[in-house]
């Protein structure tokens, strides 16, 4: 397969707010330590549901963002902006002032003013979401029903529209190369990063803030996932509920949070002396065309996505040292993915160290691919793989080497994959390599 251009794409900045930490440093430390972010929900509505546990963010976004700025954003937008501004600062383009020091439009102006030497016409944003601004939507529906149409907020549409997080990030950093919002359920975050790589390869941008956000810990989505029998009901033992590949897994744990990466043309990063975490080597996107919710049990679509990611990045199966699997802790999905990895890599699959960080973070839906890409990038950068917790008895149908303790990676050139699959049959595999 021909690459659309020979521009190399690298990762130069990271930002996150997750169930295990309010930023990259705390999140990475928690992942390496095997800390679970799953807990009993504190909401008064929780007890009526069949699942009363979730992986909510470790740091409330309203504790980080200035009040007026926060009230103009859906929770998904708040989380996305926090992650984006951390990544923007981390890559050396965002200045040193934390987002909490600003206020409203003044803060956006301040962020923009520190954008350094990058031409705004060459800055892009791709921020995905699986569900969108559903908390704003439902809160305003409650206002409509209980208090009438006059009480529906004039900010409801700009807050609930799925592109709102991307657009607000674009405003904050002054991005004019294009601002996009891919929506492909739980593959959305990975798809965002794949599209960001395309923007750079097609020479539409030099720097792209890419990732995903999700904030749907609310009774309606939780009831809906519960009705699908998709959620774990291990309510009496929250930290053990997300258990990818374990024989006693009984569904995923809903998580919330955001992850953003600064994806940049390698020559642009080199010219400004930026730190490079890893190369974003390639991507593979396929669709199952099998079922709206169930994965193809043969894993064929996922196999083809991994194959395309290898082709796109010029990697061989034997180059892959590590995979952060999609592995949500559902009975069918975990097995289908294991089959796909085996089918795509063949005997080389035996050399791969796998992990499923969802065992700690729960499933962040549209942010999952972004957060797990960050975990892969940091695994390559630090040459160490976070553990999969709760894997007490590995499913016999999963014949792969899974790290149950933190596992170091060898020296030399290494490559790694991040898989994400979504309802609708979306499959996105990303390939990264050491810088």
């Amino acid at each position: 397969m021909n690459r659309p251009s020979n521009r190399t794409v690298v990762v130069t900045g990271l930002g996150a707010t997750t169930p295990v930490g309010g930023d990259i440093a705390s999140t990475w430390a928690a992942l390496l330590a095997g800390s679970s972010g799953v807990a009993r929900m504190r909401h008064d509505w929780a007890e009526q549901l069949t699942t009363t546990i979730a992986a909510e963010v470790a740091v409330e976004p309203t504790e980080v963002l200035e009040r007026v700025r926060a009230r103009r954003l859906d929770r998904s937008g708040q989380l996305a902006l926090i992650a984006a501004l951390e990544a923007w600062t981390d890559c050396g383009l965002g200045g040193s002032s934390p987002p909490s020091e600003g206020a409203g439009d003044d803060a956006a102006d301040a962020d923009r003013a520190t954008a350094g030497s990058v031409d705004p016409d060459r800055i892009g944003v791709v921020c995905a979401s699986g569900i969108g601004g559903i908390q704003t939507l439902l809160a305003n529906y409650d206002a409509l029903v209980q208090r009438g149409p006059r009480r529906v907020s004039p900010l409801a549409i700009p807050m609930l529209m799925p592109n709102s997080p991307a657009a607000n990030i674009g405003l904050a950093v002054g991005a004019r190369a294009g601002v996009h919002t891919p929506v492909s359920a739980c593959a959305s975050g990975n798809e965002a990063i794949a599209l960001a790589a395309d923007m750079i390869r097609l020479n539409r941008a030099e720097v792209v803030l890419a990732g995903g956000t999700e904030a749907c810990v609310h009774p309606l989505p939780m009831a809906a996932f519960g009705s699908m029998m998709a959620l774990s009901r291990r309510n009496d033992d929250p930290e053990a509920a997300s258990r990818p590949w374990d024989v006693d897994r009984d569904g995923f744990v809903l998580g919330e949070g955001a992850g953003m990466l600064v994806v940049e043309a390698a020559e642009h990063a080199a010219a400004r002396g930026a730190r490079v975490y890893a190369e974003l080597a390639g991507a593979g996107i396929t669709a199952d065309s099998h079922d709206i919710a169930q994965p193809d049990p043969t894993g064929m679509g996922a196999t083809r996505a991994i194959g395309r990611a290898l082709d796109d990045s010029g990697l061989d199966p034997g180059d892959i040292a590590h995979i952060n699997a999609h592995a949500t802790s559902t009975p069918q999905g975990d097995v289908a993915e294991a089959l796909a990895i085996r089918a795509a890599l063949g005997a080389a699959a035996d050399q791969v160290v796998l992990t499923a960080t969802k065992s700690m973070t729960g499933h962040l839906l549209g942010a999952a691919g972004a957060l797990e890409s960050i975990a892969v990038v940091l695994a390559l950068h630090h040459r160490t793989v976070p553990p999969t917790i709760n894997l007490d008895r590995q499913d016999e149908a999963v014949a792969l080497d899974i790290a149950t303790k933190q596992r170091d990676l060898p020296a030399g050139d290494l490559a790694a994959l991040n898989n994400s699959f979504g309802f609708g049959g979306h499959n996105v595999a990303l390939a990264f390599r050491t810088a």
Partner: protein, 82 residues
């Protein structure tokens, strides 16, 4: 019946809550748009919150006439005595 100053003080709290403008800046001679940087969507929020707070109706047609804080306070005073 609330005094002009009481209405101004309560309105200032609303403008602070909605738009982050310091309450002390919300004086009768200030323009919502030009002086306080309250945009049109925030103005809608201010109006709805004021209707609730002061138990008055502020018709959409009337909002464009409320250019200053003083305009809004005067309208609320009239509406309360009507």
């Amino acid at each position: 019946m609330a005094s002009t100053e009481e209405i101004r003080t309560d309105l200032a709290e609303i403008v602070n809550e909605v738009a982050g403008v310091p309450a002390d800046d919300v004086q009768l001679d200030k323009s919502f748009v030009d002086d306080l940087d309250v945009d049109s969507l925030s103005m809608v929020e201010v109006v709805v919150a004021a209707e609730e707070k002061f138990d008055v109706k502020i018709p959409d047609d009337e909002v464009k006439n409320l250019k200053t804080v003083g305009d809004a306070v005067a309208f609320i005073e009239r509406a309360q005595t009507a």
